[in-house]
Subunit: 310 residues, 2 copies
DNA sequence: CTGAAAGCGCTTACAG
DNA sequence: CTGAAAGCGCTTACAG
């Protein structure tokens, strides 16, 4: 784009009549350095005048790591939650002079390695990481009560309040990465609520297949009165299948989604769902990544968005 | 992570008994160098044994640019199209030793600058760029007949075939970046097809507001028989509004979407829409970015997915 | 209070 | 056929 050579530290040093070291000290507010106020002011001024911006690559080479955080997000994990999560992560990182870059697609070792080799990011995060290894969030206390997994409980609790005891978990066709952990959590909650053991119902992408799946369920387990969907997407699919079978929702079958997607409002009946403060999760993640204190970050607890389907 | 110091060029040189320059020449297949086959073989072997991977940052500092391409994608532009586009871009870049990183959120100059400062990417692309400046795709010939904008024509042509002449363009609440260009294109097409001049109908996110908007349209322009939606999302919103007003679709009002989203299959009536080969677009973009020939890349033309709504 | 120097890991003229 | 050297732009002991 610009033809003119970029302004370097050297230029600023020359124009200020000091060494590069001094400029670096001033610009970085390096501790334990004693720079005369006059010099400091002059350097700052010159650097502004020249429009100096540090060369990230050079800095990264020297510091051993770039001020970049890479988030890996797997195909199929994109959604309302991830969008908000990314927004929170991004904003918080920006406030600490870091930039978030996202890598889409399957998370393979070579993909991660490629990124590491290419830019030595400050951190590489995998979306949903905390859940993927089955450990679940390792933050103790209430901090993660609102977490993605934990809030699966909200769905079940709501259904229980409506009197449902025979519930099925609606799953996407392709098993998403955090399934195991969430399912385990959901089962535990169901047990606590005195519900029958949870069974999963895979709802394929293809509408006819989803309808067939629901029909089979109705035949085999007529006692089931509600579907707790893995996400809104799946919930919407359940709704479509119910419609195809001529079922009344929520009369014959209640459906609750997860993740408060825009599309959920547009179905008929409109999808009841769970809303999560994903942006806060992103902000927490950012602070954790950078090794900063998370105190002072606010988060609103998850809540059920009651519409018509449950 | 790993405690052990990383293997550098120097290590490989030492272990092979040659200079760093020679190792670099061998590993990069630098032209116009004459390395003895024996040396070459030895260096390659040692480099493999030591598990050497070039340090991207150092290379970037030296070469002046990293092997990274950054794609900026604005909030609200995420969708089926962008996902496929990203996949294509990503795969094609990978085949040429580059990695794609995505920046989400508003595309401001400072955001772009930040990325540039941080990693000096090989290229920074803005999603939909070709359309944003109103120029439209600058590739001549048939190459971009399938492009995002051009295919708006497909919607109108299909509606015309069904006998519609009074058509309204359904728009998202927040005007998406490529609106102008697409609209201009659509108007041109409408004129060619002998349709009445196209008017836009903003369909707000909130369901009740969307319904009100459609009600107003019906009152003011009862002659309108079809909505060509800017995307499936908007199409689905139009469907919901029509349902709220008790309209029969497509009898009273036909609706056609754009971008073949999964949700479109799940509405009732199911959304008729346009499918585009976005992955191919991504691949083309990648080749263009890297200054490579696009010959040999296949793309399938866009097509109408006829379902029930139009 | 400030500067000269080393070094992060690589590539590429240049010299032999 | 191969190597010594410079340099990309920065930071940080170290020396004064």
């Amino acid at each position: 784009m610009s033809d003119t050579r970029r302004t370097t530290l050297k230029d600023v040093a020359a124009a200020s009549g000091v060494s590069r070291a001094t400029v670096s000290f001033v610009l970085n507010d390096t501790p334990n350095q004693t720079i005369s106020p006059a010099t400091r002011e002059r350097v700052l001024q010159v650097s502004r005048d020249l429009g100096y911006v540090p060369h990230g690559i050079a800095r990264a080479l020297r510091e051993g790591t770039s001020r970049i955080v890479v988030l890996h997000i797997e195909t199929g994990m994109e959604g309302n939650y991830s969008r908000s999560y990314i927004r929170g992560l991004d904003n918080e990182l920006a406030e600490h002079q870091h930039v978030l870059l996202v890598r889409h697609g399957p998370v393979s070792d070579v993909a991660v390695q490629q990124v590491l080799d290419a830019i030595n990011p400050r951190a590489v995060v995998r979306f949903g990481e905390a859940y993927l290894d089955g450990r679940g969030p390792d933050l103790s206390g209430d901090d993660w009560q609102d977490s993605f997994a934990a809030n699966a409980a909200l769905q079940l609790r709501y259904l229980a309040e409506q009197g449902h005891t025979e519930v099925v978990v609606g799953m996407p066709e392709q098993e998403p990465p955090l399934t195991d952990f969430r399912l385990r959590y959901a089962r535990q909650t169901a047990a606590q609520l005195g519900m029958a053991p949870l069974v999963t119902l895979p709802l394929p992408r293809q509408r006819s297949a989803a309808t067939a799946a629901l029909r089979a369920l109705r035949a085999e387990r007529p006692e089931v009165t509600a579907i707790a969907a893995h996400d809104d997407e799946t919930g919407i699919r359940a709704l479509a299948a119910a419609r195809d079978l001529g079922l009344r929702v929520p009369g014959d079958l209640a459906v609750i989604g997860f993740d408060d997607t825009e599309n959920g409002e547009l179905t008929s009946p409109a999808l009841t769902t769970v809303h999560i403060d994903a942006e806060a999760h992103g902000r927490f993640a950012a602070r954790n990544l950078l090794g900063l204190d998370t105190a002072g970050l606010v988060r609103t607890p998850a809540r059920v968005i009651v519409r018509e389907s449950a």
